[in-house]
């Protein structure tokens, strides 16, 4: 704050302003402060994590927290200064605190106004693999009745362009999407034609196991700037056990495909995802080593989901959330070790959360948003014209549960589909600020919700969070990251590089 002293007569008196003595600023701070909205949660036995509306955080002990909330905290103490600088309180000096906080909140929520940016097209349910954890209830290779037609593809592309989002990500899913490559080609070309007038920022991604990949498909991907996303569950024995392919070695096909994609499209045009099965739990290091060996510099560690064949084979209930967390902590420890040794390798789920912790921005990741990103961030067009709020809810429909089916591309309008109760009701149950347990939780700014999973496992969109695998997982991961940021200087340096990349 600059206080004017007597200034000479000058056309620019501001040049002659000087700062006054420090005690004059202290005198103006007043004798009391007011709280700004905040939440808190146990971080460990001795400490609490306190967060504000926009995810700024402070870690402190119980006694200090109690003093702060009861207005007994000594003003000008280090904790007071930290709380004030991070918008947990305001006093007579904080004339702009509310404006700043409002602006930050609007920035965090900006993805809401951009609306649906991820559009998934299920080109076919046919697949040449027989993965026991498959969430899709795949069909055999010769079942062409489960292919998307050009009529449905046309309607889906038109529907996609009705979203106001300036960025549109077109993702091809399956089954095995390459088994209906004709429709992939058709959709890419049609989107490009439409976009000549629309002028959006378009990304194309094909999710594939790479087994059917041909050279002409690669040529097409090169010509149209298509990215590839594949599955790699770990070393050969683990990958083949998780992802059997009748007659061929799935791992060798995947590794060969990864190599061919890199040679043709470039080293960074392919990403891989893994699914954690019980067999994976004892092999975190081996899985990460496999990713490094295949040239990847990141991994996304995922829990198995309770849909499709994963449920029928019992795999989805094969381990608890706590067992997965043990696996995750070991994997993360190893990844950090690799980084200390000079190898830049990122865990993607941690990176998404860290961006929420360390930057003023929100995330497009569907499960870490409130309200959830179902329909309003990502949407899926099934091979038969059905429109679903998420990939998981499409999988639920294949199991006979149509709860999240928003409508039919061939029968319903855009507004009928986007205003369907199948979307609006679960969205209402996914607003974390409005549901029990979440509304008071100190981790709310970093977390999200999964109404589809809770509907499947608990019978309602909100779920009972004390026993929710979604909640247990996220609480475990987020608290672990916060503890590392607070307590481990080396880990903190690496994690901050993940959370604050050059571009957000």
């Amino acid at each position: 704050m600059i206080r004017e002293q007597s200034v000479p007569d000058c056309p620019l008196p501001v040049l002659h302003r000087r700062f006054t003595e420090e005690h004059e600023y202290r005198a103006s701070a007043g004798a009391s402060y007011s709280l700004l909205p905040l939440r808190f949660i146990h971080l460990d036995a001795d400490r609490y994590l306190v967060t504000n509306l926009v995810g700024e955080h402070v870690v402190t002990d119980r006694s200090s927290l109690d003093s702060f909330i009861r207005k007994k905290l000594r003003m000008h103490s280090p904790l007071y200064s930290e709380l004030k600088s991070k918008h947990f309180l305001w006093d007579a000096d904080s004339a702009v605190a509310l404006d700043l906080l409002a602006t930050k909140y609007r920035t965090k929520q900006a993805p809401l106004s951009q609306f649906t940016s991820l559009h998934m097209f299920v080109t076919t349910l046919r697949c040449d693999h027989t993965c026991p954890y498959c969430q899709v209830s795949r069909q055999t290779e010769d079942a062409h009745a489960y292919d998307m037609t050009t009529e449905i593809a046309d309607r889906a592309v038109d529907f996609m362009f009705m979203s106001p989002s300036p960025l549109l990500k077109v993702e091809f899913q399956g089954g095995e999407s390459l088994l209906n490559f004709g429709i992939v080609r058709y959709i890419v070309e049609r989107v490009e034609v439409c976009n000549k007038d629309e002028r959006r920022d378009i990304e194309f991604v094909i999710a594939t196991n790479l087994a059917p990949l041909t050279d002409s498909m690669l040529d097409f991907c090169l010509d149209h700037n298509v990215l590839i996303s594949t599955s790699l569950d770990g070393p050969e024995a683990l990958h083949n056990a998780n992802r059997p392919r009748p007659g061929r070695n799935s791992y060798l096909l995947a590794v060969d495909g990864i190599k061919r994609v890199r040679e043709k499209l470039g080293p960074h045009r392919i990403a891989a995802l893994m699914t954690t099965t019980r067999a994976s739990l004892s092999q975190p290091r081996a899985i990460i080593d496999e990713y490094i060996q295949q040239g990847f510099r990141s991994i996304f560690l995922r829990m198995i989901s309770p849909y499709g064949f994963a449920t029928r084979t019992g795999m989805s209930g094969d381990y608890t959330a706590d067992e997965w967390l043990d696996f995750y902590y070991q994997a993360l420890d190893y990844i950090l070790e690799l980084n200390y040794g000079g190898l830049a390798f990122v865990e993607e789920y941690a990176a998404i959360i860290l961006r929420k912790i360390l930057t003023p921005y929100g995330t497009g990741f569907v499960d870490l948003r409130s309200p959830a990103g179902i329909g309003i961030a990502g949407i899926i067009y099934n091979y038969d014209g059905g429109v679903y709020a998420s990939d998981e809810s499409r999988m639920l429909a294949e199991m006979g549960d149509d709860t999240f089916r928003m409508g039919d591309l061939l029968a319903d309008t855009y507004s009928e589909i986007m205003l369907s109760p199948a979307l609006v009701e679960p969205l209402g149950g996914s607003i974390a600020e409005c549901v029990p347990y979440c509304s008071d939780c100190g981790l709310l700014p970093y977390c999200g919700s999964d109404p589809c999973r809770h509907h499947r496992t608990h019978g309602d969109f909100v779920g009972f969070k004390p026993t929710s695998a979604f909640c247990i997982k996220n609480m475990g991961v987020i608290k672990h990251l916060i503890r590392l940021l607070e307590d481990d200087k080396d880990a903190s340096r690496v994690l901050k590089s993940w959370g604050q990349p050059a571009t957000c």
Binding site: S34, L35, L36, P37, L38, R39, F40, H42, L53, R62, S63, L65, D66, I69, R70, L98, D99, L101, A102, T103, Y105, R106, Q109, L112, S113, M162, T413, Y414, S415, L419, P436, Y437, D440, F464, P466, T467
Partner: protein, 122 residues
Amino acid sequence: MSGTVPHADIARADADGLRVRFDCRAYDLLSIQKAAYKFGDRCHVLISPDEENTYVDVVLQAKRTLDNPRFLAGEFCNEVLDQQLRQIVAKETAGVRDLLLAQAFSRTNLITPELDSEPVQG
């Protein structure tokens, strides 16, 4: 109420489980209910206020036989204290929270104004 682990005699064992008595002069019912919800994975909880609203009895039955019931009761009491703090925050910041949200979205048009009065088409 410093939030440290309370005295070991806070809970009394009876046929139903462990019974903890909360004085209504110091603890409010909403905080006890919220703590009970949070402990739903570990305990069955029965909340019984008396007719004069001078105390609230809470009976805790551990769901897992390996859990130490007295430790659970202590943790439950600490959670009630945390919920009381949250009530203080909620009460004090309700107004400024509404103000902040209004300010945050005051310049945002999530719905195009000219379509507000027309039927949604498409």
